[in-house]
Structures are given as structure tokens and as C-alpha cells.
Amino acid sequence: MHSLLAQTDSLLVNLDEVLFVGLPYTAIVLFLYATIRRYVARPYSYSSYSSQFLENRKLFYASAPWHFGILALFFGHLIGFLIPSGVLWWNSVPARLYVIELSAMIFAVLALVGLVGALHRRFTNSRIRVVTTKMDVIIIVLLLIQVLSGIWIALFHRWGTSWFAGVMAPYLWSLFKFSPDITAVREMPFAIKLHVVGAFLILAVFPFTRLVHLLVLPLSYMWRLPQQVIWNRQRKTRQT
């Protein structure tokens, strides 16, 4: 009996290692390899696969809040990861902490509204159903789990912006330094573990979904000249 318990215990330890060390590295390798391979071998499949043409009105209420919400949250996490000390300094005054937590919650609700709207639109509109692929469904469900667990964490494991800097940032940094340290993550509540695993799962399936449009965000349009002429004869491109 005792040995069986110990076995289960060690299995759980191993599971933690699989989820917080194995999965992240697999996800990152898969992400890098598959996005590059898809870009090189199947450039035609790189698209945002917009469906505004088939349905316009509902898309606005889904796409706009989702994109603005998730972009703000993404950059928030990125800042927490890159400059944890800065976040801790900012949060040292309670009023400032409330500002950041409240605005994060607003963006999270925006993202949730957009996502639920997108899901609803995808399954109730017959035209949209026609252009829905399996990967669309998988990624939208993963994102929904991610946003819901994020909101749950913000509400019941306060204050995320602060402990992220203390717990998650060191963990993520340890991954990047190739000396993974999961002692802190292992002790986290279920919702947080779910959120971490969800993030790496999204990263892993990313190259196989429409999310690749993120990687080809056309920022160069900002400074390119309007007209583009290509000659076959001399093989040259000229912008005017």
C-alpha cells in the first residue's frame, strides 16, 4: 500500500516534469520547425483566412474586441516576463496595482466576449460553418480555455501581476537558460498549471492553425511606397 502511494507520487512528479519541462521544449521546437517549414514549403497556406466576406456584422463584435483584448494581454505577459522587477516596482503602490489589474481584467473580458462571439458566429452561421476547419475548432477551444483560466486566476489567485514576476518569470527564464527549475510551478494551484500548459499547447499547435497570420503581420506597409512594379526581363522590383 505504502509503496503504491509512493509510486503514484513519483508518477505525479514525472507528470509535472512532462508538462513543465517536456511540453515547453517540444512546443518551442515544434513551433520553430513547423512555422518555418510551412512558410518555405507551403507559402500559399499562410493566410489570415478572413471570413468577413461571408458574414460582416457579427464579425465586428467578435474580431475587434478579441484582437484588441488579446494583444494587450499578450504584451502584458511579455512585459511581466521581460522586466519582472519593473512590474514589482509598479505594483508596490496599491493604487497602481489596482489600475493594472483592473485594466488587465477589462482586456480579458473583451477577449472573452470576442471569443465567445466568434465561437457563436462560427457555429450558427451556415456560411461560416462551411469554411471552418478542424484546426479552427481546436484552436478556438484552446484559446477559450486559456482566457477562462486566466480570468479565473485573476479573480481567485490574486494578484497575478505581482506573483507572476516572482514565480512565473523565473520559471520561464529558467526554460530559456536550458536549466529548467520547476520547484515553484509544481506548487501552483490547478488553474495556474492549466494556464501554463494551455499556453504551451497553443504554441505547439500554432504552426498548424490560422494563427500563422500573426507572423506575417504586414508592418512594412507603413514605410513602403505605394506602387510596385516587377520586371520579368531584368528580374527587378521597383517601388514608386
Binding site: 500559399y44 489570415s48 516587377i230 522590383t237 521597383r238
Partner: protein, 498 residues
């Protein structure tokens, strides 16, 4: 001076019989795939009418084309400042309902239906969802003025004429319409190219054909919004935009584009135009009343030694220049000045020109007797009382400048009067010559216009320059350089997702 060449087009609207053969031949070649069913790279509209997509000319609604601002031009739809926030949802993008939902019929039901008391029917089903649907719109829904009071009265060009004229257009004895076939104009200042965030659209240097690189297109759909003629279409299945490619694979093998080749009325002409690329920006920013003539000046004389030298400097061969000299489009647009571009006020500088329609001629009721003219001579003098108001035509083809339309129609009419005097003889030759003189033309020019309009052969209508790939590429480069890089085409199926 930067001499470039453009494969340009002239459509002679007096000869268009509205048979849609051009549309069908194009559809059979290019847009019979999934996701493209609703696309018509070539379509024929009835004017007055709302066209396809509905009211495409209404740029308040679609924000297509450019607007002149402080000596320069700016896209109406997505400026550099606005494109990023709008990338999640395009506020002015047409949807499928602005075009129409494509459908087919369940013909198999006619054969497979179980025996019963009633006749089996072939129900209409959507080609998008496959579900039964009620057909409420089509690509030529107001063809031949069908449902005019409901549809055609929304034609944005009707704003150019008075309420009284609009009323008269509906009066039975004045009822008038003409056909307006449209393809991509392969503009000199294409708004679609300028709007593409990914840079997927480009103009070919050798022939000016505007294309979309399908491997670079990411479905931002800016080109759909930006093109004021709505000739860039979004493939809802593959998530890529597509447009008329002027059948460049046919042109490169010396054949006329499918819509040109199949034209029953032989209304279409194709040939080279040389233009000065340095002046495009300046011309595009000119006010409406100057822009039509300015575009004409942008087109260069292929016989001018200076132009020939410039063309050679830009790598054009002697043979290529000879083809430009033979171009029927050059004659129509620049020499005879009877072909005009559509809606130049959108400032994209379209390179498809239209010879405006003269028919029906001045029909009127004289003392309760309906006649086209009481005396043959009046054909010319009554010209101001045309059934289709001059302002309407000017709104369509002259950026609103009526005197240009008058000049064009006068010349076309003078040619007719002259030929009638010659062949029928019921008009005095002196009267005919007088009208030629008044229309700023001569006997020789009138004869030439007549021959090019009525009697041209296939090779006179389509002067296809030597665009052959072996001349465009191999003659200048070692073919071995291009081994493994051209001619192998697509290896992946055009489907959505991975």
C-alpha cells in the same frame, strides 16, 4: 521621361449587344472553382443600372480609389494610419450579399426523385452552403433595365442629371439603355497595388498587367476595398484575393484574352500604349476637369524619335516598338480621341477605354409620328437632344466634363453622316463634309475610324505584342539561370488551411 509599355484595351460600346459571351468564356477558364463562383472577372452591366457588385460606383459607400489632397493622392479606404486598426475588421469591405450568393440547381432530383403524384423539381441550392435558397440577386440582376424603378434608379451616375431628365429616362418613348462590359482596367496608378499591406499585388513592368501573388496574399482584403471598380475579388474558400489577369498566359503565347477572342460584337480592341511613368503621380493628383486630358497627354507617341529612344533605353526591342505603332488603342485614344476611360475621378488612371455609345439616335415623337429624325440632316443638328443625357455619359466616362463627351459624340456622329452621304446618298456631301469639319475631323480620319470600327480583321483588332516568355525572359537571360525557378507552377492544392 520614363517610357513604359501597357497592354491597353478599347471597348466600342456602340457595338456591344449585351450577350455576355465574354463573361462566360472568362468564367469557364478562370472562375469555375470553389470560392470563385461569385466572381466575374469580366461582367456586362446595363446602364443606367446599379451594376455588380451593387452600386460599385458609390464611393461614399465603398471608399474605393484615391482622393486628391494637397497636390498628392491618398487612398480613400486605408491610409497608412488607418490600416492597422482596421485590419481586424474592414469597415467598408463589400460582403457576398453586395455581389450575390452563387447558386446551382438540384438537377439530379429530376432523375432520382422517387415516383410520386407531383413533378420533381430542381430546387435552387447555394453553392456556398449547399442549402436550398431563395434567389434574390444575381450578377446581372437588372439586365436590360429589368426592375428598373427598383434597381436602376439607384445608379450613382444618375446624380449627374436633373430630376426632369431622370423622369424622362423612364418615359416609354425615351427609354434608353446601353451595355457596359467591364474587366480589370490594369490601371497606371492602381489603388489595389498601393493598398496591399503584404505587397502581394504588383504591376508587370513589360506589359503593365496587374497581378496578385497568391503565395504572398494573406487575406487582409485591402485590395477589394481599394479598387473603385471592385475588380479584385476575395476567394472565400482559399482565403486569397483573385483578379482579372488579362489572360496573360494567352497573351504570352500570342493569343487574345478569352473575353476579347470570344466577343460576338467584336467590340474589343487590344494593343500597346507607351506612357511616361514619371508623370503618373502628378496626373493622378490633378482636379477632375483636367485629369482626362492629362491622362491622354501621359500617353506617348510611339513614332516620336525621343519616345523610341526612351523605349529602347528601358529594354524594349525594335519589334516591340513596331507593335506599339500598330496599336488600334493608340489610334482610338490618342489620334482620334474618341475613346475615354471610365470614372477617371477615382484617379487610378485606368487603361481600358470606352468609345461611348451613340445609339439610340435622337428618337423623338414629331407630330405623333415616331422617327429617328424627320430629315436625315437633322441627325447631326438634333444631336443635343440625345435620349441618353450627355451629363450621364460624361459622369461615366469624362469625370463629369461634358464638352469632352460632346466632342467625342460629335465626331462619331460626323463619321456616320459622312458614310451615309457616301453609301446611301440621302444627305448632301456638302452637309456631311461640313459636319466632319465641325467635329474636328477629316475625310481620311473618318474613313479610318469607319474601317477600324466596322471592318477590322482579327489581327487589326488585337495587336498582341511579342510578350512570349522566351522573348521576355530567355532572350535577355541565360535560360539556365531560371532552371528550377520558373515554369513549375503550383504544387499545393488551393484549399483552406494546412
Amino acid at each position: 521621361m520614363d517610357v513604359r509599355a501597357q497592354v491597353s484595351m478599347v471597348f466600342h460600346l456602340d457595338k456591344c449587344i449585351g450577350c455576355h459571351t465574354c463573361s462566360i468564356s472568362c468564367k469557364n477558364i478562370w472562375t469555375d472553382r470553389r470560392g470563385t463562383e461569385y466572381m466575374w472577372f469580366n461582367n456586362v452591366e446595363t446602364k443606367p443600372g446599379t451594376g455588380y457588385p451593387t452600386q460599385w460606383e458609390d464611393q461614399e459607400k465603398y471608399k474605393g480609389g484615391w482622393e486628391a489632397k494637397g497636390g498628392t493622392v491618398q487612398l480613400k479606404s486605408t491610409s497608412k494610419a488607418k490600416y492597422l486598426p482596421n485590419i481586424f475588421h474592414h469597415p467598408h469591405m463589400p460582403t457576398m450579399d453586395d455581389y450575390y450568393e452563387p447558386w446551382t440547381y438540384q438537377y439530379e432530383n429530376l432523375f432520382n426523385a422517387p415516383a410520386g403524384d407531383d413533378q420533381p423539381i430542381a430546387r435552387a441550392v447555394s453553392m456556398v452552403t449547399g442549402e436550398p435558397m431563395e434567389i434574390k440577386a444575381g450578377p446581372n440582376w437588372d439586365d436590360d433595365l429589368g426592375g428598373s424603378p427598383i434597381y436602376a434608379s439607384n445608379d450613382p451616375n444618375l446624380k449627374a442629371i436633373t430630376e426632369e431628365q431622370r423622369q424622362q429616362l423612364n418615359a416609354l418613348e425615351r427609354l434608353v439603355f446601353f451595355y457596359f462590359p467591364r474587366i480589370c482596367n490594369h490601371c497606371l496608378n492602381p489603388a489595389c497595388v498601393a493598398s496591399c499591406p503584404s505587397g502581394a499585388l504588383y504591376k508587370r513592368g513589360e506589359d503593365g498587367i496587374v497581378l496578385i501573388n497568391q503565395k504572398v496574399c494573406r487575406a487582409w482584403r485591402s485590395c477589394v476595398s481599394a479598387c473603385p471598380y471592385k475588380k479584385s475579388y476575395f476567394n472565400w474558400s482559399t482565403g486569397k484575393s483573385e483578379k482579372c489577369l488579362l489572360c496573360y498566359p494567352r497573351l504570352e503565347t500570342g493569343q487574345a484574352p478569352a473575353c476579347f477572342h470570344s466577343c460576338v460584337g467584336r467590340i474589343r480592341y487590344l494593343g500597346l500604349l507607351f506612357y511616361d511613368a514619371d508623370r503618373i503621380k502628378d496626373v493622378a493628383a490633378l482636379p477632375d476637369d483636367k485629369i482626362v486630358e492629362a491622362q491622354r497627354e501621359l500617353i506617348l507617341d510611339p513614332f516620336d524619335p525621343e519616345v523610341i529612344a526612351g523605349a529602347k533605353k528601358n529594354g524594349m526591342s525594335d519589334e516591340f516598338i513596331e507593335f506599339a505603332q500598330l496599336s488600334p488603342v493608340y489610334k482610338f485614344v490618342k489620334v482620334w480621341k474618341i475613346a475615354l476611360p471610365p470614372h477617371l475621378e477615382y484617379r487610378t488612371l485606368p487603361m481600358l477605354f470606352y468609345v461611348p455609345p451613340l445609339l439610340p439616335v435622337l428618337g423623338s415623337k414629331d407630330a405623333d409620328i415616331y422617327s429617328s429624325a424627320s430629315r436625315p440632316e437633322d441627325l447631326f443638328h438634333k444631336f443635343d437632344e440625345m435620349r441618353i443625357p450627355m451629363d450621364y455619359l460624361a459622369s461615366l466616362f469624362c469625370a463629369g466634363k461634358v464638352d469632352l463627351m460632346k466632342y467625342t459624340l460629335k465626331k462619331l456622329m460626323a463619321v456616320r453622316v459622312f458614310k451615309r452621304a457616301q453609301t446611301v446618298g440621302d444627305i448632301a456631301m456638302a452637309t456631311a463634309l461640313e459636319s466632319l469639319h465641325a467635329a474636328d475631323t477629316t475625310e481620311e480620319e473618318a474613313e479610318a475610324i469607319y474601317r477600324m470600327t466596322s471592318l477590322p480583321t482579327f489581327s487589326q483588332r488585337f495587336v498582341i505584342p511579342p510578350l512570349h516568355r522566351e522573348m521576355a525572359v530567355e532572350a535577355y537571360k541565360d535560360p539556365q539561370d531560371f532552371k528550377k525557378s520558373v515554369g513549375f507552377g503550383f504544387t499545393e492544392a488551393p484549399k483552406r488551411g494546412l
